[in-house]
Structure formats: C-alpha cells, structure tokens
C-alpha cells in the first residue's frame, strides 16, 4: 500500500501537467522562437556539463577508490557537499570564487579580460558543480565493486596503467559510468538555483529551460505548461533510450 501511495505521489503531478496542457494551441506555441532557443541551450549545456564531469569525475573517482591517502574520507565527504548544498548557495559560492571580483575570477578578468558570470560557459560551470558528485559517487561505487586483481594481472602482462585502465577497468565499470553520466545529465538539465544566481538570466545565452519556465509562469501559465511538457518529454525520451542500451548490458 505505501508503495502505491509513493508511486501516485510521483506520478500524479506529471499527469496533472498532461491534463492541464493547452493541447489545441500546442503546435503554434512550440513554434515560438524563444522556446526552441531555451531547449537548445539546455541540451547543449547539460551535455557539456556531463562531458566535463566525465573528464574530471572519473579520475577523481579512481583516486578515491583505488589509492589510499591520508584524509581520503574527508575528501570523499567534501566531494559530496554539492549534493546537499542548496543550489542557490552553490551559485553564491561560485560567484565568490569565479565572479568578477572573486578569488579566481578576479585574476581571470585581469589576465584575460574574461568573466564567467552571464556566459554560456558559466551555465556549464554551474551545472557541472551540482551534477558532478552524482557521477563521482556512481563511478567510485563501481570501481570499488570491480576486482582490482584484473588490473594487477594486466600489469604483470606488461600493460601500462593507462592501457590497463582503458582496456580492463573501463569495460568492467561501464554500466556504473553510464548510470552516473545519465544521472549527471538529468541533474544538470534541471538545474535552476545555481544557474540563475551565477550565470544570470538572458534569453539565448543563459536562459535554460527551467529559467524559462519560471519566467513564463508569471506572464502566461499555458506557456509555462508547454515548456514543462517539452522538458518532460525530452527527459523521458533520453532516459528511456539510454536505459535499454547502456545500463542493461
């Protein structure tokens, strides 16, 4: 019985979206330029954020799982902080470091004349900040579960560490990496608080789908519903496609 209540709790709001959608004016609304721009930006930034997370997160997960160093538990705890931090707080923290007067941002501005806030790159940074921990935790879990003796065997057979990682470890942990990447992508797609605080809100450049929905809510409820539906359909489609292909190897 509690299971059914839980299911209903999760599914009913989505059903509400479908019921309340303005189906008759849907085609006309979808053709509006702002909507597709926001969708394109959202897909682009969340994919880039996932790529950044993979590039940085997999080595980090390796470090946490395979090497023993003093303070490892503290590092692991620190890595998961963005998970529990309210996204807006994450945005403020990013501003204090990467903002124009921030610790690193000030140097960036003085040296290159480049600032992260209010740019699409800033959106990717904000999304990667909140989403990377998902990937790190997932990959670290997979690495701990994978037997290290296979890598040792590869080493005794003459493989370099990189070759052993690429040809032995990675195929073993691929489902964990894929699951982590999907979670990371989904989290990045839905990010709102850190994005609006750090990257700001400007159509076409930093106004991702969640920001567009929030703004549309004040002007035109039906437009907000259309945007929400679109995001829901895209998310479900990607998640469904990935699940079959990658996770169930």
């Amino acid at each position: 019985m509690p299971a059914l209540v839980g299911l209903a709790f999760l599914v009913l709001p989505l059903a509400g979206l479908l019921v309340r959608a303005p189906w008759s004016s849907l085609p006309a609304r979808l053709a509006e330029p702002g909507i597709l721009a926001a969708l394109r930006l959202s897909l682009l930034t969340s994919t880039l954020a996932t790529a950044v997370s993979l590039a940085l997160g997999v080595p980090l997960a390796w470090l946490l799982a395979r090497t023993a160093f003093p303070g490892r538990r503290l590092v692991r705890a620190l890595v998961t902080v963005p998970l529990v931090l309210p996204p807006v707080v994450g945005g403020v923290a990013l501003l204090l470091v990467f903002g124009r007067r921030g610790l690193l941002g000030g140097w960036l501005d003085a040296t290159f004349g480049f600032t992260l806030p209010f740019t699409t790159v800033g959106v990717v940074v904000a999304e990667a900040f909140v989403a990377m921990p998902f990937l790190v935790i997932s990959v670290e879990g997979a690495l701990r579960g994978a037997d290290a003796r296979y890598e040792e065997a590869a080493a005794t057979l003459g493989a370099s560490r990189w070759t052993a990682f690429r040809r032995v470890t990675l195929p073993m942990i691929a489902p964990g990496v894929a699951a982590g990447a999907v979670l990371c992508w989904a989290r990045a797609l839905g990010e709102f608080g850190a994005t609006i605080t750090f990257a700001g809100n400007f159509p076409g450049r930093t106004q991702t789908m969640p920001l567009a929905v929030y703004l549309a809510l004040e002007q035109d409820l039906d437009a907000a519903i259309v945007l929400s539906l679109l995001l829901l359909v895209v998310s479900v489609a990607v998640l469904a496609a990935l699940r079959d292909k990658w996770i169930f190897t």
């Binding site: 124009r100 007067r101 209010f118 700001g200 809100n201 400007f202 703004l215 004040e218 002007q219």
Partner: protein, 265 residues
C-alpha cells in the same frame, strides 16, 4: 485504555474549540474607515509586498505592532509579478502591495482583491553603480557602451517595465547581461561587482548606500511607478488586513516611506 483514549479526544476537542473562539474575536474589532491608524486588527497578518518595500515595510510593520498590541505582521517580499501569480494560485495572504498598477491588475482581474486598490506611494528609478562610480557613469547613454555590463529587471517585473519606458524615453538601447527576477536581485549584482550598473529604484540605492551610489537621470520622471495596496478577498484575517491597509496610508507610515526615498502619491 478506552477511558484514556476518550479523555484524550475530549481534551483535543476542548483545545480546538478554544483556539477557534480566540480566532473568532478578530471579526469583532473592525476598523472604522481608512483614516484611523490605531483601531482594530489582532492576530497574525500576512503581507505580500514588492521587494523594493523591504526596509520601509519592516519598519512600518514594527510601528503597526506597537500601535496595535496583539498583532503580528509577517512579510513576504519578492518581484510583484511573482507575488501576483502566487495570489491568483491561492497563496494564503491578507494584504498585497505591488510596485505597479499592472501587477495589481493581475490580482484584481482574477477577483482576488477586496475593494479598490489605493495608491500609497510612488517611486523613481536611478542608476545604481558600485560605490565610487569606478566606470564614471553619469547618464543613461553611458549604459549603452559595449564595455559596460548592465543588469535590468525582467520585463514582467515593475522595475523592468519602468526601465523599458525610461530607456525608450531617452532613446537609448541597452542590452543587459541579465534580466533579474526582482529589483533586489539586480541590486545584489551591483553590490557583488558582477555588473557595472543596474536600473533600480531610488529607495533601493538609498537603502544600500554603503555599497552603491545612485545616479539620477532626467528620464526617470517619465517612468514613475505607482504602488497600489489592497486587502485580499480570501484573507484569513480580514479585519487585520483592512487595519494594515489603513495604517499604511497614515501620516506616520508616509513619513517612514518618504524618509526611505519614496514620493508622496
């Protein structure tokens, strides 16, 4: 065991009825008209107000509570368009004070206002720049320069609509780097040094005078914001709502508002 259960139920019923009795007293002290400021209202009063009213209304709330012992005023500040949408979606509140007639119209058109909204103050825009005006901005035209980063409020928000009008009156085209959800968020970007300028209200620049300077410009007179206030139809505390709306129009409240930089209605 059954006796204890019965006793617990009876006790709960008694407590619930006394609480209801306490709440019922509110309707007995209805204020007379809008002129008197000390009469009427008790219990909790929830006020949804435009972000630019933050400092003034906090003070007015304290003064109201002092004049009407037994009342407790709680405020929720935000962009007027956000608040209007919350009210039409059924947010429980007693009073709505917005920064533009347009956002107030959203609420009254939906039938959520009790009575006619009354304009209680006006506000004008200034250019907020970091303290010391490092980029030497003196007019609206300076905001159009390519190396100046400007934060504006989003257009549905009253300060955004006023900014649009003022810029049009000055015939200046400004592309902001961000469109913020309320005027305090735009001000925060200036305080943080992330933008070089923002169009905010005179009252906001004054409230943050330790961090920002407010640069006046003539075109602001063509985009003055009128602030209406109204008690809400489904107010949990209707008497308190009417009392607060009345108090906001009193001389004492007006002094607090004009001291903060607002203009008389």
């Amino acid at each position: 065991m059954r006796a204890r259960l019965l006793a617990a139920v009876a006790l709960t019923a008694v407590l619930a009825s006394t609480a209801a009795c306490g709440g019922g007293d509110d309707t007995a002290t209805a204020p007379a008209g809008g002129a008197s400021s000390a009469a009427g209202g008790s219990g909790a009063i929830t006020v949804l107000a435009a972000a630019s009213l933050t400092e003034s209304f906090n003070q007015i709330g304290k003064d109201f509570e002092a004049a009407n012992p037994g009342t407790k005023v709680t405020f929720s500040y935000g962009g007027s368009s956000t608040l209007a949408q919350q009210i039409t979606a059924g947010a429980p509140a007693d009073v709505f004070a917005s920064a533009s007639p347009a956002t107030m119209k959203t609420v009254t058109d939906a039938g959520d206002g009790a009575g006619t909204p009354v304009t209680f103050v006006k506000n004008q825009l200034v250019i907020a720049v970091p303290k010391g005006n490092p980029k030497g901005i003196t007019s609206l035209a300076a905001l159009a320069k390519s190396d100046i980063k400007v934060a504006l409020c989003a257009e549905p928000v009253p300060c955004g609509a006023a900014a649009k009008k003022a810029l049009a009156a000055a015939n200046v085209k400004v592309t902001p780097v961000t469109q913020e959800q309320d005027v305090k968020a735009a001000l925060a970007k200036v305080k943080l040094g992330e933008v070089d300028a923002a169009l905010v209200y005179r009252t906001d620049a004054k409230a943050a005078s330790s961090d920002v300077d407010g640069i006046e410009f003539p075109e602001s007179a063509q985009a003055i914001n009128e602030y209406p206030i109204v008690a809400l139809k489904s107010a949990p505390n209707a008497a308190g709502a009417a009392a607060f709306v009345g108090y906001v129009q009193s001389a004492a409240a007006l002094k607090v508002l004009t001291d903060a930089g607002f203009q008389q209605p």
